[in-house]
């Protein structure tokens, strides 16, 4: 009699101890890693966090502070913690390759946002990215139609990663495609930085007072360029095209200081990526596929429909219930 009661008590106690862990084991843990302090990553993280909360998924966040070694350390740390999957904005291609080697060995699915390379696709849980090589093209086309001839310039981001170069080139392709005869008189790299873009634009305008259009490869820089244009008293005379659709960028469009931007909202992309990663984990989604990130051309006319970077709960709900993005072929660099 006593033995049975004791055994039952032990069983109850044991279950009480184990049950929460079992329940927790059902809750997935995802590591969200961002490359650095850039607000772009922050918006993505915030949206992913909100989505994770609604899905009952635990999100651990890391930042690599733009340091590839730190990034690798973060990946190792996450694996040791026993996360179910990693969602990552990588700092560089080399750190991606190292990360994916680690993750593969540990059997942890890893999903990349922004940083596509054919070498990492097969072993990844998936990659979601915009098409670098066409990202600026629609903006180029739109502006090209408004500037049939004359001079223009491009101000792009930090060289070396490939995206800055690709964006500027895509804009130029767009200009050509539109049939414009305008010539490109300056190409400057301003490191994605607002102040550097301001200085660069001032110098370009001083050197080419008759310039008709300037392309800034991200909207942060576009704000800087708009200030330079304003100071030169040439708002309206010099057309501005941006890329990525950040809130301050859409502000510029609303104020009439920028003609168009190609939005690349990190919020919706991160939510979709999270869903895809969870799908790979539970087996409903095939790993190793490429997904094109949702982009959206924004002009004065469709401002109201611009996808918010700062996601509201209603947005999160919508994105969680949208159909999952379909895989597609990875972007290839155009033959030069």
């Amino acid at each position: 009699m006593n033995i049975t009661r004791g055994a039952l008590a032990l069983l109850a106690l044991g279950t009480a101890l184990v049950a929460p862990n079992l329940a927790q084991a059902a809750e997935k843990t995802i590591a969200f890693m961002r490359g650095g302090p850039d607000p772009y990553y922050q918006y993505g993280m915030n949206a992913a966090q909100a989505a994770a909360d609604k899905l009952g998924v635990k999100l651990i966040t890391y930042t690599a502070n733009n340091d590839p070694t730190q990034e690798l350390a973060n990946v190792q740390d996450a694996i040791t913690k026993g996360v179910d999957g990693i969602l990552i904005y990588a700092v560089s291609l080399s750190s991606e390759q190292a990360a994916i080697a680690q993750a593969k060995r540990a059997g942890v699915p890893i999903f990349f946002q922004y940083g596509y390379d054919p070498s990492i696709l097969a072993d990844s849980a998936g990659v979601m990215e915009i098409n670098l090589y066409t990202f600026g093209e629609p903006v180029g086309e739109a502006i090209g139609k408004l500037v049939p001839d004359g001079e223009y310039a491009t101000i792009t981001g930090k060289l070396g990663r490939g995206d800055a170069e690709a964006f500027a080139q895509s804009f130029k392709n767009g200009m050509a495609k539109s049939g414009s005869k305008a010539t490109d008189v300056a190409d400057v790299a301003a490191d994605w930085d607002r102040q550097k873009a301001l200085d660069a634009a001032s110098q370009i305008i001083a050197g080419h007072p008759d310039i008709k259009a300037i392309y800034a490869a991200n909207d942060d820089m576009a704000v800087g360029v708009s200030i330079a244009i304003d100071r030169a008293g040439k708002t309206g005379q010099i057309l501005l095209g941006g890329d990525n659709g950040a809130p301050y960028g859409t502000d510029l469009i609303a104020k009439g200081q920028m003609t168009m931007t190609n939005g690349n909202p990190p919020s919706i992309a991160s939510v979709y990526s999270l869903r895809l990663l969870l799908g790979v984990i539970d087996g409903s989604v095939k790993p190793g596929q490429f997904y094109e990130a949702p982009t959206q051309l924004i002009t004065k006319d469709n401002l109201a429909d611009a996808v918010a970077w700062e996601a509201k709960p209603a947005d999160i709900d919508k994105w969680l219930s949208d159909p999952l993005p379909q895989p597609g072929p990875g972007p290839t660099a155009p033959a030069n």
């Binding site: 990553y41 300056a186 930085d193 660069a200 110098q203 007072p209 942060d220 800087g224 200030i227 304003d230």
Partner: protein, 323 residues
């Protein structure tokens, strides 16, 4: 007893003979500046337009304010690596205050006050610790970078109200307000260094701290005051930069510390302290601005620009090296 002293041997300068023979001395910086101006003007005549020249001054104005303050610190044989991060914090404080209270005065007050407080804290740490200012301000720099990110939530704080109108867009007699601010800062530092006891103490502490102490100078207190004074300039620069960019960004001050120190050193103030001139700093600031501007106007590719800038800075420093 020993025979009386014959002649007193003078210490000899240790500049390379070639340079000495040119008799350049303190004019090397000016000559380098002139060379750059000439070369650029030939390459792109628009360089000499009033517009462009004003542009250059505008672009270096915040750097000039920060470098003015840093000059004082280098004279004390110290330095402050955290000024860049502090500038970001001050700028963010300004932007956040202006956006949330709508008051320009409060915003400016917040920015300037942050700068002073950060400077005073740096000064206290440095005055009471054996570790070098380099190490201490390296630590505070990292701390402030984190604070900047926390303050901004990682994103830019957009809008700076009327500050933008004044500093971003405004000018007086065609010269933008930030340029006046820079010139005022330089003159203020000059006056402090030459005409005040505080400035004199800075030279004494940098030249021989022990001798300063034995002369009754309250070294600790003075150091704190000097670092706080530097903080004042950083705060002002933060307010102005926020105005120029019409936003506060967590990264707005990045790189200012190295460029400011480079400008001061190019200007002839040695790292070991004891001597220095803020006019030289102005020259250093102009050099940095000129080089950057001229490279853009001459169409030097972005990839080359960093390398060229580094070469020119090294050359200017080597030519400036005194005994």
């Amino acid at each position: 007893m020993t025979s009386p002293a014959a002649t007193v041997t003078q210490p000899t300068a240790s500049k390379p003979n070639f340079v000495r023979s040119l008799g350049l001395g303190r004019f090397t910086l000016l000559i380098v500046l002139l060379l750059i101006v000439v070369v650029t003007a030939i390459g792109n005549p628009r360089f000499l337009s009033i517009n462009n020249l004003l542009n250059i001054l505008f672009q270096v104005s915040t750097l000039g304010i920060v470098a003015a303050g840093q000059t004082i610190l280098l004279i004390t044989a110290g330095l402050d690596l955290s000024v860049g991060a502090a500038l970001s914090v001050a700028g963010l404080a300004t932007a956040l205050t202006v956006m949330s209270t709508g008051s320009l005065a409060l915003g400016i007050g917040a920015g300037v006050a942050s700068g002073i407080v950060i400077g005073a804290v740096n000064g206290m740490l440095i005055a009471t610790n054996r570790a070098t200012p380099f190490i201490i301000t390296l630590g505070t720099m990292t701390l402030l970078q984190g604070i900047a990110i926390l303050m901004s939530g990682g994103s830019p704080i957009n809008g700076a109200g009327a500050l933008f109108n004044v500093f971003g867009m405004g000018d007086f007699l065609r010269v933008p307000w930030p340029v006046y601010a820079m010139l005022l800062s330089i003159v203020a530092v000059f006056l402090v260094l030459r005409f005040t006891t505080l400035g004199r103490y800075a030279f004494a502490i940098g030249g021989n701290e022990e001798a300063a102490r034995l002369s009754g100078i309250p070294v600790r207190r003075i150091k704190i005051a000097l670092y706080a004074l530097n903080g004042l300039f950083v705060g002002i620069a933060g307010v102005i930069l926020t105005g120029i960019l019409n936003s506060g960004l967590p990264s707005m001050g990045t790189g200012y510390e190295l460029r400011a120190i480079a400008a001061v050193v190019i200007g002839g103030t040695p790292l070991i302290g004891g001597r220095g001139t803020v006019w030289g700093t102005l020259g250093g600031v102009l050099l940095l601005g000129l080089v950057s501007n001229s490279m853009n106007l001459l169409g030097v590719g972005a990839n080359f620009q960093s390398a060229v800038l580094g070469l020119i800075i090294t050359a200017a420093v080597l030519l400036q090296k005194k005994a």
